[in-house]
Symmetry: C2
Subunit: 498 residues, 2 copies
Amino acid sequence: MPNYNNMAKNLTKRSEDYSKWYNELVVKADLAENSAVRGCMVIKPYGYAIWEKMQAELDRMFKETGHQNAYFPLFVPKSLFEAEEKNAEGFAKECAVVTHYRLQNNPDQPGKLRVDPKAKLEEELVVRPTSEAVIWNTYKGWIQSYRDLPILINQWANVVRWEMRTRLFLRTAEFLWQEGHTAHATKQEALDEAKQMNQVYADFVENFMAIPVIQGTKTESERFAGAEETYCIEALMQDGKALQAGTSHFLGQNFAKAFDVKFMTKEGSQAHVWATSWGVSTRLMGALIMTHSDDQGLVLPPNLAPYHVVIVPIYKSEDQLNAINNVADTIMTSLRAKNISVKYDNRTTQRPGAKFAQYELQGVPLRIAIGPNDLENGTVELARRDTLSKETIDLEELQSKVTQLIAEIQDALYVKALKFRDQHITLVDDFEAFKATLETKGGFVSAHWDGSEETEQKIKELTKASIRCIPMDASQQEGKCVFSGAPSKQRVLFAKAY
Amino acid sequence: MPNYNNMAKNLTKRSEDYSKWYNELVVKADLAENSAVRGCMVIKPYGYAIWEKMQAELDRMFKETGHQNAYFPLFVPKSLFEAEEKNAEGFAKECAVVTHYRLQNNPDQPGKLRVDPKAKLEEELVVRPTSEAVIWNTYKGWIQSYRDLPILINQWANVVRWEMRTRLFLRTAEFLWQEGHTAHATKQEALDEAKQMNQVYADFVENFMAIPVIQGTKTESERFAGAEETYCIEALMQDGKALQAGTSHFLGQNFAKAFDVKFMTKEGSQAHVWATSWGVSTRLMGALIMTHSDDQGLVLPPNLAPYHVVIVPIYKSEDQLNAINNVADTIMTSLRAKNISVKYDNRTTQRPGAKFAQYELQGVPLRIAIGPNDLENGTVELARRDTLSKETIDLEELQSKVTQLIAEIQDALYVKALKFRDQHITLVDDFEAFKATLETKGGFVSAHWDGSEETEQKIKELTKASIRCIPMDASQQEGKCVFSGAPSKQRVLFAKAY
């Protein structure tokens, strides 16, 4: 059992210091912590249990859309890594590199080891920052004919991107993710796949995580290195900053050309294969925390809660505890029959108050407390984490009440986040208002843009806001660029972002 | 879809060259292949689907015994790695080492990259060959009091051990595994945990994978580096060589002392924590293949089969195909209602003969063929992979027949493997017979041993056989060492091993 002594209610308030609140919450709710390895985190059991819920649902959705899992090597030989130049250039500065394959005793320091200078690799190995290179080098051997296509593969893996400034879940040197890599006979099929997977991500994040997102495409400068189009889902955090929650890339024939992957078409000619890749990562944990949580700690949508309900006994005598144990058993049986997961916390090493504080901090959706009065009255106290409201419930109504509340909480969290998000999309038509909105209100600013990278960069320098996406469902509308005044055909969404 | 053109029946026979048969089978059955990275494999979708079945069942068993999953960093700083000296010494020669964190354009070769000499790490990072060091360094922060114990954590991860001679699944530079790491207040509790997890492994491998194992302890020279006792399960392959299928280690207080992990006991004193670790890996795929498969290809116990049943239509006209499609639909609905997984292979790009060959090679437990005669007679042809037998079955009997066969095949594979294994345990009392048995019959040789490392090493030099384990349930029996003639109290099991 982890130590919850540090769980007293001294969480920094969001209004005081949002960033500090986040960092404290991640650690105090037992989600993750920094490790001895620069920029790498330890995902603690409670945090990992939430990630497992995400994985299981995503995996189901990937398989339902025809994908299979596979596993490709952690290491990418440098010569493969550099084959697709844009991709290589985009990731070169963040690569951890293996140069040696052996340690030996250090003759100068007994009991210490050093790298064996004789065990230098002929070719350095890059620890994968993403797997296009090693996968497309493999696909080359799998694809000869149109009969071998499409290939629809996903991988669950760890990747490493050497970031200088790291934050738990949001930006870590090593993170966990899934990366889909598909190969297609036609451009249209690859485009459809990239869009389909972005839609899968949107459905997952909205319906399962209760986080509203906006689907769109990235500008050229924000695209994945090596992609011809990047689809994305963008979410809005409580502090008014955007967070990119998932991306799906149409890679054109770039990797097929870099790795010489051709196939015989139905008509008998040779053609390069079309590609997509798409991924979401443990960064989603950050999105989850910063969308729903409050000054009391984590708030979890029931879909992601390691357990929906916790039961805490309140007693003075052994006899009372025994009687409460019996009631708790009945409740657990009754709730589990409805697929509701329940934890009974009958630890004797902690007082009820400490337990309440812990589960509030950890965002357990519902808490049931059973005390001596409840025993007499055939009731329990039922507390709801998202609203912090409490009520006394007759035991016989408990099963239906809990079932109903679990659905209700999942919906309520989405509705609340959607309302906040929609209130934080501001249409702006001049640059002073643009700057003022970003400074005071935050959120997404919907503005006309002239389509040039120069304007995009200038705006970023002046305001720290980037173009989060060109929304997919936005109507075409004539206008003038908020910065340059040049003509524009569509509003795009700007925001400061994680 | 992968290319199955290479799947014609030209598999080397086991009797000709067992090793070649194995390598061909792994590739031709689409389980795995070598990658561009020395010693690292690509696990292909069909192979990965089998691994997922293993993962799901093991994960369920770990959780049922009170364990939670978590995730710890891929990298281990050298100073942490070397803290537990025996562990460090044992793995130092196999460590991939990250020395740099950036690539840059190579000024001498435009378009190529090189390691940026300015981006040298102050301290080298070892790619984890196992995670005791990084985990115990973390546990130090989690453990203050007896209330924080036990810690029962498992991790699913990739690890790297730089092997010079690699073979798909059996010995690869990178492999996938799970590693359990537990912390306890007492020696007895840690010993019980190590034994419990070895029993979990034995149950899993026997009941789920249909592979009989012998439980035992390792001799000191075969122990995990840093362990005080290593429990193991040993299986026997068809070529008479043993394979270590899983290990569970009692680590004493070695890691607690190396990382200074102490706790306050109930009585108020300070004590070092007791530890275990335990793991199984993708090596189990090798055990699976070499226990059950035959000259026609893979044979899968139904528990591990990505699909239990494949349906192949045989037709000349479009009308026949339509009629077969209807029958196949009915069969799928009927079988899926019994939790039997079914694949209908109605590809038009392959002939039935090629499909039969593919599924035989891939070990699908049952194959249903439906042809024009079957349409007339209301029958199907049902073929069983393990026995290669076929029979014609009335449609109305199919559901019950398939359900029964799936249970029967799972049992039959275990019984067959157990019979083979038991026939290959030979009691031997003199060294000439010992050598002759290993040369001609193979398998386990049960012999007396004087308990000295010297004898163990001499026997290994002379015969290539190692002590696989000191069986846990063996009766004590006075005897004389098969090599030295010195007194012995128990027989141990020798074998050549993978």
